[in-house]
Subunit: 280 residues, 2 copies
């Protein structure tokens, strides 16, 4: 049997768990609960508890590798063990938010680090160097590549909105990624904080998965983002929240609080999907 | 005494060693000499030997972090120890080639990992997310930020050459970085493989340090790149070579061969500088 493409894996998982929620796993030492900080491997203990508590509502988990790098080599080992735990105990997909890009043979080293050593199912990538620089990632059909398109930060437009022959750069990126997607493994990252831009990206790439950060601590409007981002079948999006789930409580009930926050967000996404389907 | 800005540190080091050469430290397991692979910490042993052999001609060393990540947590520990060795034993600057960029609080985690844990003097960064996303890096005057402008890969122009109001995107990036440079810590990365673009960037940013990869294995024309890139004082560039120095010999004489390759490249850069100064 041929391996499934990443797009097929994502679709299957989203339908299987009936959720389009992605839970960001971004551990910040100062925000870990007291009891967790006394564990022998605090980051792994925190992540395991959050994964176990939220997985019924999590299509995917998205660790941002920056937070692990900031903890030194032990942090990266905790990331590796977290991912192994997710694969062993759950059906959820793992997306490492790494925003990588480099020239050919260096990109191959990154692909090895992320896909083969850390065993992630997908990564985020930066388009600025062009498609040839992302080749070592794109050639793996079973691994997902979410390419930055319109990011969620306040200054995202500084370059991404620049006019290129009358269209903003981020839409040129979206079009190119559509061409790079011959193996069915590409997606785009579009912030929930800019729903109009999100609708433009969806119109440009009707069938491509969109990873949508920025609905939690970054205050994007969830219902507008879901309605702008979902595809014609009411699917094709992954809505990510990190801090609003991980740190829903700073006490010993952090896992229950994370589960509650994940369930509420999952249900709010479902409500926004069906509202759109009714009104559409 | 106030700390020197990164631009001042770079100028001082370049004058002190009378070299504008940057030696890339990109260890690839398969290419390490037999004898080195039997060492208890092979990557550190290789890097130490290369640093000791080439430092008379090296203004800076540039490890690309991808090659260390591809070796797992031990690789990153070898990078940390390599940098500590360079700081302890030499006056050369360290630039981690990481091409990072992320939204605010995540960029702060990367800055902590690179500037504080790994103790690099400078990093490379990706501009696509805009200046606000790079804030945690830019706010450190003593640390250098080399921002990707026109990269050395064959497909670099896919986005970087797109016309924005009649000018290519990479020149818009160069202009913005000039504005971000209020603390004297910014530079630009421009590949030696495109000397005409390099001249355009120099014209746009007359005083900014340029990090120029692509003269070794990537076959850029050294003399043209030096002449196009150097500033009005015949300085302001760092010419990087990695593989052509590191792997000049695969035998037990690798360090001597690296020293010879570094000296030759340093002298070729000096010759190109003075040729320009004569003809200019």
């Amino acid at each position: 049997m041929e391996k499934m493409s990443f797009a097929e894996r994502l679709l299957e998982r989203g339908r299987g768990c009936n959720s389009l929620l992605c839970v960001g796993l971004d551990p910040v030492w100062e925000r870990l609960p007291e009891a967790i900080r006394r564990e022998p491997d605090p980051v792994l203990a925190f992540n395991r508890a959050v994964v176990e508590a939220t997985v019924p509502w999590a299509c995917a988990f998205k660790p941002n590798i920056a937070f692990y790098e900031a903890l030194g080599p032990a942090g990266l080992e905790a990331l590796r063990r977290t991912i192994a735990f997710i694969h062993r105990q759950t059906e959820a997909l793992v997306i490492i938010d790494a925003k990588r890009a480099d020239v050919g043979h260096t990109a191959a080293a990154y692909a090895r680090a992320l896909f083969d050593l850390l065993e992630t199912d997908a990564v985020t990538l930066n388009p600025y160097l062009g498609g040839d620089a992302l080749g070592p990632f794109l050639k793996r059909p079973e691994k997902g590549c979410f390419i930055l398109c319109r990011t969620s930060n306040p200054g995202a437009g500084e370059f991404q909105d620049l006019p290129v022959n009358g269209r903003p750069l981020y839409l040129v990126v979206a079009e190119r990624v559509r061409q790079w997607n011959e193996r069915g493994n590409c997606g785009l990252v579009v912030g929930a904080t800019f729903p109009e831009e999100l609708a433009q990206v969806r119109a440009t790439c009707p069938g491509m998965p969109l990873l949508i950060p920025g609905v939690g601590a970054q205050q994007g409007d969830l219902a507008r983002a879901v309605q702008a981002g979902m595809d014609g079948r009411g699917e094709g999006i992954l809505v990510n929240a990190s801090r609003s789930i991980l740190y829903a409580s700073s006490g010993s009930d952090f896992a229950e609080a994370a589960a509650r926050a994940a369930r509420e967000l999952c249900e709010a996404i479902q409500a926004a999907r069906s509202r759109e389907q009714r009104s559409g």
